[in-house]
Symmetry: D2
Subunit: 334 residues, 4 copies
């Protein structure tokens, strides 16, 4: 039984608490949060103790920590937890600063402890089935990837201001999906962005609508589209053209009911947001972490993946500012 | 906290154990099963005790029992449990004998205890959304209902022989769905059946492919189609034509991936069988039971519903034998 | 070049005029209609002459006639035209009287002239692709056929009164489709019908909502559902469960546009009515007739098929009145 | 009756011949083609005369010409025909040389004759319905357009070599679609391209897989994806995210049949190529031209539109070569 401490119980922390508790191979033994009340409610529900992050990390009876605290604490907590001999699953992004993330990567690597980054979408059953079909050669060689990722509504500007911007906060998921499907890092990132949804987002120096094109060394291409607003809900689709066909992973719908009236033929909307759409992915993510840690096998998403996605986000951010493509090598050697 | 004893832990009993344990308002305290090993495994998993059904029913500290034993024990267990002051959720069908079911109905009613029959499909989110749209008047008045219900593959003939036949074992779910959507009992049932899938089923005196037409007092119609075999999996669809439009609840698919190649455009199959397709329904069913029992409100599916569905199944069985429609009134007054 | 006379240019006659004129192997040379103005407009458009039906049939320079006059004239015109050595394509139904249709069948057969009955749906590309898949063994052996056929809105009661009733006027198409897919005549027809759409239809002695179940000698089953009203348009679907899978032919939609908003995900309605939905079928039907007549090969739908469909309609009509199944043999030997 | 001369009867010329002949307001009176045999076959079929392009243009009895000759003759023929007082419908592109196209634009404008450019996709009923929904405000303000346009298979390299390259030959359709939906010319074009499908295309200096991003003055964005090969056929989809929702126009399928077997749920492929998919669009395009010419109203797609699309193609071509965005203003002022 893997004994787990959960650091941070915001919106996503609550999901993790349930997932850790429900997994037959893990036990949620301790919870920390800056807001004591949040931690206490969840702890009572799951029979866990409320403790400080420091205490949890220092407790040699705890095998692993799941880090779901604010982003600016991730690197330090990863370093402390791995130094204390713990396995770590950390929410994305690793950090908003690429140098800081790379320092963390080096420090954690030195401990030899497994650190997995929570790019949950790799564990979505739909994207997983699509990847399996690709790996099985069902559409030949991948050539042109297209990712559509629209949120239902923009977050508060206060969140935007500390988020690192759309590319590091939102599109970073899609950058990792591109790596997942293309199996390589791109050579260059060309990004275009505007503030069309909310002028306050533009005023805060960020974009809310963006397109990025990734070019790969062998000529393959990927396009990512993001918007902070889709009036119909959470739009999460991936399609990949290969030499032998096309794979498409569509949205999951709220239900399968179709109504036909004089007004048209109407079906359900996509599941509203990430907690609904990716619930199965969070469970599968945790199961993969537990299996890797217990089996002593490599975790499926590493700090290297986290650093790569962050570098792509930095390249995209610079590309919008510069109005031209940015080489990933220039970002990584900066 | 509702303290619950689970009687019978076959395939479906395992689902119920998990659902009872996961619900915040109920606790699984005791399990019985004819095969001790099955009970012990589940009991260990959920921290419940293994006891006999008699002991569980006699234990005044237990508030409710969920009956998932073989059908021929249902009536007696319902009677015993209600007599012992317990709330009961019983798997369908109530009994294979209509007179026995009606005796049970009378006996249970005399105790005043709530008895809910496990027609889980009423709690499927898709059928629920469809019913909500109907009740909201979105397609006007219901006129013509059509239910398609195909199993992936026939059960062993040994099961068929004790099942009561397709109408009492399989189509009984659809009879209840018809009542759910049409809001009334039919006047007559006309059924047609054949053994096309497996000659051994025909040799056992049962059919494996069947159509039933239900006629209602106000002229409305319903058609139910059943087959014991659909090569592509579990096919569970309902559609309802109303004066103002059509509602259709389609299958739930294994995933949302579509592959387009020279061979065609291929999507996922329906979720394979009832445990996958109706998992959410089992959870919602249990939640509804707990809520009704705790709140002292009527359970949403009663023994009356169970008896009605069984009477419709009897009518269908007789109709196939007689080669003509059978009045429900004749069945109920027999 | 097949020289063709068109008898009758109501709604469907106009379609036929265009189809005959557009086919490279046929020429529309003469048109008759009780309403001279209708005939003249179409004749001017296509460079044809307006003549009486008698004149057209008597003209030895005309090779074939297409009969699209009122139903009660079909038999006599078929007899006259075949006696005059013409090939005939006649709209359905052959007649409202089964004895009269059978007399026509005998008389026409004696002339040796080809007579094709216009069950246009056999030529719909969708149903055709479905039949081809069935014939290719893609779903194994056919077991359970289901036909849904809803009109957008009921015709005027004045039409209903001379139509022969829903089974002879509307469901007769579906009876022929059943023969097309099942490849055999049924043993018995069990029909259920009500007047739910318009009380005036019931007052006229007809039904507007109906279900018929066909049973076949080898145990296979077919179900047909009809309604005179679907608020969303013309609903024309067929599905066939076989030992190895399911084939479904869905509706053709007005366009492929899908709109996703806060109100839901809305697509186009089905093409509104038979002229739109079956335009390609009318063209293919005519092409098949021309090809058979020119090639001296059998026409693909014969008077036998027309008589069979009518007999099934008679059986259904009697079944609703009698409240029990009617054997096709009893109808045919009456 | 508009008397029409058809110049050029290659693959697309045959479609135009039929469309002109079938329209009640136009007559196909003369045909020219470099290959006399092609012209003669079509002329015989439609009762037209075979003449030289010069003769046709010089004939004052002819009202309009449809130019479907090789691209390098378009400008000269437009100039000659308009100078001769004819209305012109010319296939895309106007020219491969932007200066030449602009000279033609000036010359034609001086004559005052209507010249329409054959961007047929604007007349596709699906894209038309989507545009109508946009114009009706059904998704609010357009923000992010996405066009997917894949051909079934690459043309011969000999064709590629004289085609002007993917952007001028293939994506030019999508550039016009972007203008159609966005209602404005973009500020800049950023294109990325590779030769992944056929190395011979790369050797010929062209790309076969490409992505272009268009940026608009008000911050809106459009993305176009092209591939010369889609193993499953002709993939033609457009989607547009607006402030109030999403519009998607999907592929037209070969038929509506769905087959469900143990291997999955398989539907028909998209209609194979442009002649099938856009047949209705060609008819509507011609009807719009005839209506505008007869009514003296402006043609719906002008030489200005043709020049704009060509300028966007030039910008994209330069962008791939330069590896950075190209301003449309720089192209137009070159």
């Amino acid at each position: 039984m893997l004994k787990v401490g959960l650091l941070g119980v915001g919106r996503i922390g609550g999901v993790h608490a349930r997932t850790i508790a429900a997994h037959p191979g893990s036990a949620l033994v301790a919870i920390s949060d800056a807001i004591a009340e949040n931690a206490e409610t969840l702890a009572a529900q799951h029979g866990a103790a409320v403790r400080s992050s420091e205490d949890i990390i220092a407790d040699s009876a705890i095998d692993a920590v799941l880090i779901a605290t604010p982003t600016d604490t991730h690197s330090a907590l990863i370093e402390a937890a791995t130094a204390a001999g713990k396995a770590v699953l950390c929410e994305k992004p690793v950090d908003l600063s690429l140098p800081r993330a790379r320092a963390c990567q080096t420090a954690a690597a030195a401990t030899g402890q497994p650190v997995m980054v929570g790019f949950n979408r790799r564990f979505d059953p739909n994207f997983g089935a699509m990847k399996a079909a690709l790996d099985a050669g069902e559409i030949g060689k991948a050539e042109l990837l297209s990712i559509t990722s629209f949120d239902p509504a923009p977050p508060p500007v206060a969140y935007i201001e500390v988020s690192g911007g759309l590319f590091r906060d939102m599109m970073i998921h899609d950058f990792d999906m591109a790596t997942f499907f293309m199996g390589a890092a791109p050579v260059a990132v060309s990004a275009f962005g505007s503030s069309l949804v909310d002028p306050a987002i533009g005023a805060a120096g960020d974009v809310d609508t963006a397109v990025a094109t990734l070019t790969y060394a062998d000529g393959r291409l990927a396009v990512i589209k993001n918007s902070r607003r889709a009036a119909f809900g959470y739009d999460q689709r991936v399609e990949l053209l290969g030499s032998g066909g096309l794979l498409q992973a569509g949205n999951m719908l709220e239900n399968s009911v179709v109504k036909s009236t004089a007004a048209g033929v109407t079906g359900a909307k996509p599941m509203h947001f990430f907690l609904e759409r990716y619930m199965a992915a969070y469970e599968a993510e945790w199961a993969a972490f537990v299996e890797a840690v217990k089996g002593g096998t490599p975790v499926p998403i590493t700090l290297d993946d986290g650093v790569l996605a962050l570098a792509m986000a930095d390249a995209a951010t610079q590309s919008v500012q510069a109005g031209q493509p940015v080489l990933l090598a220039d970002i990584l050697s900066a």
